[in-house]
Amino acid sequence: MIRFENVTKVYARGARPALDRVSLDVERGEFVFLVGASGSGKSTFLRLVLREERASAGRVFVAGKELGTLSSWKVPTLRRQIGAVFQDFRLLPNKTVFENVAFALQVIGKPRHHILTTVPDTLEMVGLAGKEKRRPHELSGGEQQRVAIARAFVNRPNILLCDEPTGNLDPTTSLGIMRLLDRINRTGTTVVMATHDDEIVDQMRKRVIELSTGELVRDQSRGVYGSDR
């Protein structure tokens, strides 16, 4: 589903690469943790998959497309197959829960009846049934992240990218979010989650990819957070 071939990303000329000759494969339906210290290249990895950045060298394949040669007008089509969730939720404060999720479908031109059936289904799936009319500031952090996940998943993407989705949440709430991501993964969606949360990684026992100063230092199936354990 995602394939990196010797990918290097240099932001400023002469600077240390944010990613340094990284090669890896993520299969369809996998759940992958991306770990590493701040600045190790996790976010760059996710931005490359979203084609928010282009690789400086090497090739990135997502959903069968080589992103280096993908023309920019095809980028939106690519992104419709990818959901993205962030630490800071990125909800629209002046829209209700329902409108926030519906927004993702409206802007890609989905018909009204499709939105009216899909959005409630998705909200129910993430455990927000009955809160459709609330605004983000009326929700707890965990609930806001659920809205963000609903928005990312409402178009049933093949890939879900999560950039520290539990970074702002307490452990119990985080666990709830992880259960939800696990459920989404079981529907066949590939999930790539960048995180600092060692407890969660250790508990889930999924594939772990560790980056350190831009280099791939560990790729372990059913791994744990710290490599020394």
């Binding site: 959901g83 990125r90 409206q106 802007v107 890609i108 009204r112």
Partner: protein, 304 residues
Amino acid sequence: MRLQFILSEIGLGLRRNLSMTISVILVTFVSLTFVGSAALLQIQIGKMKDDWYDKVEVSVFLCPQNSSAPTCASGEVSADQRADIEAALASPEVKPFVEHIYTESKAQAFTAFRKQFKDQAWTAAVTEDDMNSSFRIKLTDPQKYQLVADVVSGRPGVEDVQDQQRLFDKLFSVLNHATLLAGGLAAVMLLAAVLLITTTIRLSALSRRRETGIMRLVGASTFFIQLPFMLEGAIAATVGALMAVGGLWLGVEYLVSDWLSASVNWIPYVDTADVLTVAPILIGIAILLAAVSSLVTLSRYTKV
């Protein structure tokens, strides 16, 4: 769904930047009023040319009995001199521009004179011999006046050559200068309008960065993201253009049709139909302005 969504986005954007929207409307209104005025002035000139150039003639006044002009030293024009002038007008370099020549005798001039000033006492002292006989020349192209004048003026027997068009040309030159002035002001105002629309779109794009960011993320097309901003600019500019058309219409209706043509009625004036001819041009310019501004701004602020 799509259309409704875009419309609500536009409404939101216009309301959020209300003061900027109003200033865009006003600036386009003023600038396009100048553009429209310039266009109407040109139409006015065209109308007057059409109307008057058909009637204008070059008049070659021949010497009367007691003329002080140096070319009239030999007294009243002789038959030889007359034939000489006629020959000059028939010469190959002038002939193609002359449509026809009409000869006015002293007697005809006297009759016309008496008819024109029939109720005035001073005319009693004027006799037929005080009148000039003349050639009235109708030109195929009124612009070629100078050519004809050069051939005949200064010849013995010719007292004076007059071109009625010259009088009009002074007026036209005044109107042309007014057009230039209006055009110059319009250019400055249009520049201000472009800058203002650019700023407005940029503000609008910045204030909705969160939305556009999410739109990009979930795969909305660039066109779909940019369309509301473009339409915002276009709508504001078009409203300004419509106001300019309305302003010009009122100006022409009340200033020109009602007032000016009532007081000076021998001139054909522009009317509201001409305003409607100019209207699509103004609206077109407004849309073009908005389009140019959008292209410049949006490529930078909402790129994929």
